[in-house]
Subunit: 402 residues, 2 copies
């Protein structure tokens, strides 16, 4: 089958999703089956409005530069796609003779691809539709990890290592520091802060994930203990942490705080924890909430992540022109010493509707830390050693005063 | 005069204050006037408790590694020093035969040095006491800029450039993004986010500094205008922004939120702005508050800042062994094309009790932006070009649907 190809980016931007776009376009340019290479502006939202861009007419040097440019160059979206929308999308694709549909995103995007396959069949329109994985949340099923996650993990490992040194220095004043990470339903991102530690006992001292119900009494006991042991406390918490009733810890309950698909706007967990430490323990607490900055740092992106983000793009094109449809490209970790990965194709029925949370073997029994197997899982994805920082040796001067 | 030297670090940690420490120690090791080289643990707080460390006995490789290690290796503090404390400090210095006193910090630390000079004189103890500048706030008088500031500025320029790309991509969903920077009394740090722009119109679109009273109506009009023009709005705001009555914009008014010298704990301005945008304009708003992470990034530190941070350390030793006292090392920008700096000594009476806020010629008439002269002032301090990111060219595809 010969036809045009279209690609879109969806969901939250990342440090490497433009690398995937470059991979898609460069592979499509190599393929004799692909005619036009079209881009959706702001994902299916632009597709519905026929807001398309001709990617063959971009300046040649763009694709090289884009491999070092974070965010999502086509523009992203996060819209609820109705069945009516799907019918219209098929007609837009037909009008532009698009036979290869590539959508880069997380589970929501995979779901759009899956439903589009059915809508195209119902309308007797031949289409190869492939989902390309991208989510810092790392919560897609059937893949070892998701492009975007290694880079946010590397950013957090380095930044929390540095912020931990900051607390060591000034913890006599700012005793408790809470660092809020992204991660709505899964704690992969918060867990990655554990790699900030060069040695046991270093920050973060406590890590709270959405996989374990937040217990206020236990939290206060944890903070008291670390404060007693170390004099200062660094806490990493996922924005998606919930209490035993399944309620998000959030200071804000306003109705306006909803995203377009109806999920509550997160981001209040840190304030709740700071308030608890201050009011119940009398400790001075402050928070760092790096927000969107954490997910789009090009300077600290993982080289492994860049490579794999490119490869899922090229493999998606290969799959589509081979006539594969209703599949997602996945990353497979090869066995053996040293880290190597390959790609595979998985059926979207295995991906849609599922969220891969952090498994129990990666979470410490205490519920406020991760395990060594998690470190072994994540470390190779960071693509090399983190900066190693120096501390003064203990060389005390004998006292001379009474 | 031959005697021992002591050095301490005070106030908030930075990316380069350990470079200053290395400069002090390496210069002291070269000086035939200096006997022991002592470090205060946690500044004057440790000095009062005679908690000192012998810096000559540190491993030789430490000083090289410390030049790449952020935070404050000696430990920092932020304590209110009483006259009684000063008397005790003189006695501790006497007991350890310390004749050279170097204190690295901001205005508060300079004030301690200034008062210590007087206390030593009253107690007939010969002492050369020198303040070494360090503050990300960049608000010390009588110096072109302060070590630490160029590095936080570089971190913010890069991170806001990246976060701006993020908003361009996903602004259709998350329309307003507020980025809170540090900076209590002066807006230098918030102003530095302007260097994120490669071209006019890029993020940040609005910048609010403590130097201008925050006007709610004007803010809402500004946000509406940018939203209408660009579809998304990126705002940088200093944590120290105040309203016309001089009150901090803060959601939290708890009494516990005070630092040891009685200043209110800041950090609520962003939530106030997000709530305004959401409730008054119906726009979805979120905030990034990088907090302490912004001030201790080694990976993004400015090479100019590193060089100068080292030099203020070596020059402080030189001044002290030359018998200078009650002075601060300052950075002087040399005239002429290209950036060059030298150091000078300024009397502490010119520094203590003063705060150098952003001058009117650096603030736009609108009150919500900076001027080109500010860009010219800051750009050379960043020590080289920032990463340049690519955007798609406009290559629209003709519509085919009705």
């Amino acid at each position: 089958m010969k036809g045009n190809l279209i690609v879109g980016q969806s969901g939250g931007p990342t440090a490497v999703v433009n690398v995937t776009l470059a991979g898609v376009v460069e592979a499509a340019m190599q393929s004799s089956s692909v005619g036009e290479i079209l881009g959706m502006r702001h994902g299916v939202q632009g597709l519905l409005q026929e807001d398309l861009t001709d990617l063959r007419r971009q300046p040649a040097e763009l694709w090289t530069r884009l491999k070092e440019t974070p965010s999502a160059a086509l523009g992203s979206s996060r819209m609820k796609v109705t069945d009516e929308d799907l019918g219209r999308i098929v007609e837009v694709l037909r009008a532009h003779d698009v036979r290869y549909f590539l959508y880069v995103g997380g589970e929501g995007s995979a779901s759009v691809v899956h439903r589009l396959v059915r809508a195209a069949r119902e309308r007797r329109y031949e289409l190869s539709a492939v989902a390309v994985p991208k989510t810092i949340d790392n919560d897609l099923a059937e893949t070892d990890h998701c492009p975007g996650y290694p880079s946010v993990a590397r950013w957090l490992a380095i930044s929390v290592r540095e912020a931990g040194l900051d607390s060591e220095a000034i913890g006599v004043v700012d005793t408790v520091k809470v660092i809020e990470t992204m991660g709505r339903d899964a704690g992969w991102i918060a867990a990655s802060t554990a790699l900030a530690r060069e040695r046991a006992g270093e920050a973060p001292h406590l890590i709270y994930l959405p996989e374990r119900a937040f217990d206020q009494e236990r939290f206060l006991a944890d903070v008291s203990r670390v404060h007693w042991e170390r004099g200062h406390v660094v806490i990493a918490v996922s924005e998606g942490v919930k209490d035993a009733r399944g309620q998000y810890l959030s200071a804000s309950q306003r109705a306006v705080d909803r995203d377009p698909v109806g999920r509550p706007q997160l981001g209040g967990a840190t304030q709740v924890l700071c308030d608890l430490a201050a009011s119940q323990l009398g400790l001075k607490a402050r928070f760092d909430k790096p927000g969107t900055i954490q997910r789009v740092s090009s300077a600290m992106a993982s080289p492994v992540d860049r490579d794999e983000a490119y490869r899922v793009g090229t493999e998606a094109v290969r799959a589509a022109v081979d006539g594969r449809t209703d599949v997602m490209v996945s990353i497979v970790r090869e066995p053996g010493p040293g880290y190597r990965s390959s790609t595979a194709l998985v059926a979207l029925t295995q991906v849609v509707g599922r969220t891969r949370t952090v498994p129990p073997e990666f979470i410490a029994g205490s519920g406020s830390d991760i395990t060594e197997p998690f470190v072994q899982y994540l470390m190779p994805l960071l693509g090399g050693p983190l900066p190693s920082y120096a501390r003064l040796a203990s060389t005390p001067v004998p006292r001379k005063m009474s």
